[in-house]
């Protein structure tokens, strides 16, 4: 490896020896192409005409009235595929193409990354396999169907709790046996180096655009920027635009599940301890001896016991504040945004909105917060219906 892949002491590449050559190849290819003129031009073209970038920054006035301060939403939910995930899959998919790889594999939790990978597989004519836990297949069946329509094979994973962690385990195992022709299109800013760096780079457009849009539309930078944190890709993409703006408070919101005290949650940075999983040193939900704990969240995309290494560093330095929102708070936020703005947020993104609801009375009318609306909530309608049945 040319780079250590470390963010402070976090990150690295804790993987079996057999994966080292392919990670080195990926690192080499990324640094060769990411600033290459032809590569960046092709990516810019696809980002605009295929994915729909730039995404708008929308002033949610009725939601703002409710919380008592100005709320702007970065509308990643309007992108093709319905989430920020396409930024990363276009970037890595193009990288795979430039590397001459013909097959894609990916893990998925909510199915958004799986779908975004299946789309790119169809777009580039690559054979695509998506690894997905059986619990997630059940709760995100609409996305499973969409992936299949795009021509991807969805591989059900029985192990563990049948969620994102187990899907990553099996994607890594499969990759171990197919390193020569297969590109592993990793879905979040975690996992072994170079993925955290690659994913941050391709998601960096969120923060860059948002910062400029704030200057153009509001005339200044926001007071608070908030994003939900699963593995950490939409959040690091957003935060990376503001890290040097010290007056901008950055907040990452994790899945508080039932409650922190119940242990049934996925609030890794808030309640975890440093450990090693999926190739990186990072905060981790685990028992005393280091066995990884089962997690729980109403949102499949946040239901993961580890987190990206850069977030771990940003927690320790205090640059970003990490908090948790519980399932019921996220559901409240889902309902409020839907009622006040006619926008269905993904349950993942609803966690970021839940934080803003909690700031009512703490921020004033003159102040402005930006929330990353990382995805749309169509995929979650049946889960919301289950928890909050409509009154007839």
């Amino acid at each position: 490896m040319k780079h250590s892949g470390r963010f402070g002491d976090y990150g690295g590449f804790y993987v079996p020896e057999v994966l080292m050559p392919v990670l080195e190849e990926l690192e080499e290819a990324f640094y060769r192409f990411y600033e290459d003129e032809k590569f960046t031009a092709e990516l810019a073209h696809l980002s605009k005409y295929y994915a729909g970038r730039p995404s708008p920054l929308y002033h949610a006035k009725r939601f703002s009235e409710h919380v008592g301060f100005n709320v702007y939403l970065k509308r990643e939910d309007l992108l093709h595929g319905g989430a920020h995930k396409v930024n990363n899959t276009l970037g890595q998919g193009l990288l795979a193409k430039y590397m001459g790889k013909t097959k894609l594999i990916a893990e998925t939790g909510a199915g958004q990354h799986g779908l975004a990978t299946a789309m790119i597989g169809a777009l580039f004519g690559m054979e695509t396999k998506i690894f997905m836990g059986v619990t997630d297949i059940e709760r995100q069946s609409v996305n499973v169907h969409k992936m299949k329509l795009c021509g991807a094979e969805v591989v059900p994973i029985e192990g563990g709790t049948g969620t994102l962690k187990d899907a990553i385990n099996d994607a890594l195992r499969y990759w171990t046996a197919h390193v020569t022709d297969t590109f592993y299109l990793f879905g979040s800013a975690c996992g072994p180096h170079p993925y955290p760096t690659i994913v941050k780079h391709f998601q960096g457009c969120i923060g860059k655009e948002t910062r400029q849009q704030c200057l153009d539309q509001i005339g200044r930078l926001p007071d608070v920027v908030v994003a939900c944190v699963g593995g950490g890709s939409n959040a690091i993409g957003m935060f990376s635009g503001f890290l040097d703006d010290e007056d901008v408070k950055l907040v990452g919101v994790e899945a508080g599940g039932r409650s922190l005290s119940s242990g049934q949650h996925a609030a890794t940075l808030v309640a975890g301890r440093v450990g090693i999983l999926h190739g990186a040193k990072a905060y981790l939900l685990q028992d005393k001896e280091g066995q990884v704990r089962e997690t729980e969240s109403v949102s499949a995309g946040l239901d993961y016991p580890a987190v990206g290494p850069e977030h771990c560093m940003l927690k320790d330095t205090g640059r970003v504040e990490y908090v948790a929102a519980q399932d019921d708070e996220a559901l409240d936020a889902f309902e409020l945004l839907t009622k006040t703005e006619g926008i269905l947020p993904a349950l993942e993104s609803s966690h970021a909105l839940a934080y803003l609801m909690g700031q009512k009375g703490k921020l004033n009318r003159e102040q402005t917060a930006v929330a990353n609306l990382s995805g749309r909530g169509d995929k979650d309608v049946s889960i919301v219906e289950e928890h909050r049945p409509l009154e007839q």
């Binding site: 079996p16 057999v18 195992r173 001896e289």
Partner: protein, 270 residues
């Protein structure tokens, strides 16, 4: 305490390849697991590879994953694994290599882990998710505890990297015979021969081959390739899985399989 080099130099005199069975400690429970390991010793194991179960074993196929789950469900813990090793060593002084995942070592405290497990009777620790690039994190604590360091070489390891790995390995090189995770295979990969002979040209460190070896013929092929040891894991763990309700049959099958492999290796040595 008996060392790897004692075993390998004795076997070199008779030109026989070492038989190295693998078990997940505590599979399916502490007591049965201990009986299985004793049975393997009686059937002629030269060295033992033992795994401490982990919730997320990314280098393992379905057979060993299930064994990890069985063992964890039966209540196995890292501290009990240490006791297990003590009991094995009091049955017979046989070299033991641990095969495990980094988080368990890290949470225990790396230095303390090596010290405590060396005291319990372990000769080496192979951390499945720690490549040679991060080897420094364990080499000096392992060495100061008196442990050998075992690292892996795979079919995609370049010669330069093989040299580096060989230079940091003291016990034996764990050679992975195929691309992929652990699991029994019908046929042995045909890269084994060239992989072993490449390594033999580069280093004097003993070379043991594992992953996918599930028949006496496979073991003989590995011996013919010039390997110093053959590691058999999923095949044995699979025998445990298919005899879960019947301990006596399980012990008998593991015993007769290992006896058969041992005989094949002895016949090959002539």
């Amino acid at each position: 305490m008996r060392t790897y080099s004692q075993v390998f130099s004795e076997l070199a005199k008779v030109k026989r390849t070492a038989l190295i069975p693998f078990f997940v400690i505590g599979d399916p429970d502490f007591d049965t697991s201990l009986e299985l390991v004793k049975t393997a010793i009686d059937a002629g194991a030269d060295i033992l590879e033992l795994g401490i179960p982990f919730s997320d074993p990314i280098a393992d196929g379905p057979t060993i994953q299930k064994a990890d789950i069985r063992s964890l469900k039966s209540g196995m813990s890292v501290n009990m694994a240490r006791e297990f090793i003590r009991q094995v060593k009091s049955y017979k002084d046989i070299p033991i290599g641990l095969l495990m995942y980094y988080n368990l070592v890290y949470q225990y405290g790396t230095e303390k882990f090596f010290k405590d497990f060396h005291e319990a009777g372990v000769n080496s620790v192979l951390v499945a998710d720690l490549s040679i690039d991060d080897a420094e994190e364990i080499i000096s604590p392992a060495a100061s505890a008196g442990l050998d360091t075992v690292f892996m070489v795979t079919p995609v390891t370049e010669p330069e990297r093989m040299k580096l790995i060989a230079s940091k390995t003291t016990g034996f090189i764990y050679t992975v015979s195929l691309l992929g995770v652990t699991g029994s295979r019908e046929d042995l990969s045909d890269t084994v021969g060239s992989l072993v002979s490449n390594l033999k040209e580069l280093t004097d460190v003993p070379v043991c081959v594992g992953f996918g070896i599930s028949k006496p013929e496979h073991a003989v092929t590995v011996a013919q390739a010039g390997a110093d040891g053959v590691i058999i894991g999923s095949k044995i763990v699979g025998l445990i899985e298919s005899n879960l309700g019947n301990k006596d049959k399980c012990l008998a099958e593991v015993s007769s399989f290992l006896t058969e492999v041992k005989k094949a290796l002895e016949d090959h040595a002539g």
